[in-house]
Symmetry: C3
Subunit: 267 residues, 3 copies
């Protein structure tokens, strides 16, 4: 990665700023996403209704939107917030959960993409479908490996102007020109609900504190998740015991350890 | 239980299929229910809005509906989904949380019962009230022991054509003709919120993978909960430490151990 | 504190009554708040929609309202429930989360204050802003120390007739005439989401069982949180491992230990 900023330095910047990040996410993720952000060093706020979502987006340092449990009321708030974030030059992240599953979801994501997210984070099936290709995804889980989505991610990044992150066993981040792969994590992580959604929120926190470097901020957030997940899995007996260990590790992970253990390679 | 399928075989079938189950459940339960399903081996999707709930029910292998935090928007989605599941021949499970508490809740459950759930799971107070008898329930918790609800469960099963499961210190499952009792679990389980709601979702997963055997699928899901709960309680110091242990045990419980430890007896 | 009731006795009364408490709280808090209440010995019910919120408030022994993830539908239910609780003479608690952040939130809290909450619980920034002073709060977290809010709390208690509780590193409770400070807790507690929201619900449980003593009930709930938090932190390696330990400690804390360890001093 051509950069003068290591993941550890970006983590230090994030913790120093303790950025207020507005998350319009799904009901399954709200609690764990807030705990992930607090543990890592950010300040989450779940504010979604259209009566205040736009006003709040102007106060917050970044916005994340996740369509997991979409409804018309939430979608209206998402659009208000995304517009306000865009106008105010704040970074915002879109997580197009299972957008290919229904007509309602496809239309919602098409509308949100028009509002030009700074970053799109999804699993392989979601990114493949978003780039217009066929996916084997059958629901909220990914049916495709990350590698199968790399071409789609690059296409999507070029079409949309967004940074695109595909997460899975291996993660992939691209701006359409440069790309990196990030290794790490644990096979337990897909067995705990909403960790991907929580990662979307953490990407928002890193982007909030490093708004000039959304590509590197995204890679740093993914690397933090991968390192903390890898270490938490060492002592975990299953998905239940993994989660407290993972939150502890997010809270205690030092920038130096992150730099030592992060495996980010140019693609 | 007159059957050629043991709980362990039904668990094997569930994990092999990794069924996509749509859950329209309450806000308290969404996260833990998803974690219970992922740990046990199913693929949960929380999709509720009427704009897509029916379309999604045709994709999913089963549907579960829980009225815990009911509202008009959710109720509209529930009806769309239950109709679609019924038309598509997919099993669906109803959890009539505290339906006796208010007029709004009573009317909602009456409407949902008309859509003929494959399985109804509730606590003793809920099943007694649903069968038209008096209950001592005062809220969301059960004020009646399971044994007091066995007659009501049989009556309700005969009236409705649904499999009826009453869960508590002892569980009871009936199709109106045959009945079983399931022993196990832990006194800690009622001290953790939404475990009953999560069990409803797990029943949906077993029914999704074993749609021809909803009675045995229900009993198998209850037995899995009872065995995992009993084992998790051994090392738990309270309700907080119970939950991670319980999720770990759901993930690691083998079909062989389930068959050895399940205590299902004809009633 | 001029009282013949110790926190331990109020805890005994709460557990003996196992009060049904209606909580209209935010989506982030619903699960953890229910678990906190179940662990401590109360019976939580999350019932929010205007179609039943008022009817349910007449059944429940107390009501708590938290505007964390406010929306018009929830606000309508909150007003119905608060009116019903007031008419029925049931105690109710208001948690004005980040009410200063947006115009929508400010107006909602102004309306709810007119319905005369028995108790208001907030962080320093929220109480300062509610008393009409300037606050440095920038989001959902408190930017002010508790001490800076003591004068505002007294002013607000006198203006509103409510008991006012400010929670933070040190807690402060006042009825406008008498005040106490409560010490304890852990620096880990602000790193776990929705613990303050959960404390609001626990205050409701203590007030439900001790409706003639809302001041002492509030102080007792805060002392229980402080003692359990302090003890849980001893074995915690971070925010993730803190939470199960904290719930265990709420469940196992005896009235005698609470009386021995509670640090409540007249202010």
């Amino acid at each position: 990665m051509q950069t003068t900023q290591t993941p550890g330095r970006l983590l230090t910047a994030m913790r120093a700023k303790n950025p207020l990040v507005q998350n319009i996410t799904n009901f399954v993720a709200m609690n764990i996403a807030a705990n992930v952000m607090l543990a890592a060093g950010a300040s989450p706020a779940m504010v979604h209704t259209k009566e205040e979502a736009g006003e709040f987006a102007r106060i917050a340092s970044a916005l994340t939107i996740n369509i997991g449990t979409l409804s018309p009321d939430f979608l209206a708030g998402m659009k208000e917030a995304a517009k306000a974030a865009g106008e105010a030059g704040k970074p915002w992240v879109l997580d197009p959960v299972a957008h290919f599953a229904t007509a309602y979801r496809r239309a919602a994501v098409a509308d949100l993409m028009k509002l030009k997210p700074t970053i799109v984070r999804g699993n392989a099936s979601e990114i493949i479908a978003l780039a217009g290709s066929q996916s084997s995804g059958h629901g909220v889980d990914s049916g495709d490996p990350t590698e199968a989505a790399e071409g789609s991610a690059i296409t999507l990044a070029r079409q949309s102007g967004s940074i695109v992150a595909v997460t899975g066993e291996v993660d992939f981040v691209t701006d359409g020109q440069h790309s990196v792969r990030i290794m790490g994590g644990s096979a337990l992580m897909p067995r705990i609900t909403a960790l991907g959604c929580s990662l979307t929120c953490l990407v928002g926190a890193f982007a909030a504190a490093n708004p000039e470097r959304p590509f590197e901020a995204t890679a740093a957030a993914l690397a933090m998740f991968a390192v903390a997940g890898e270490e938490a899995a060492i002592s975990a007996a299953g998905p239940g015991s993994f989660l407290p260990l993972f939150l502890d590790r997010l809270a205690t992970l030092s920038p130096e350890t992150l730099d030592t253990k992060a495996r980010i390679v140019s693609a």
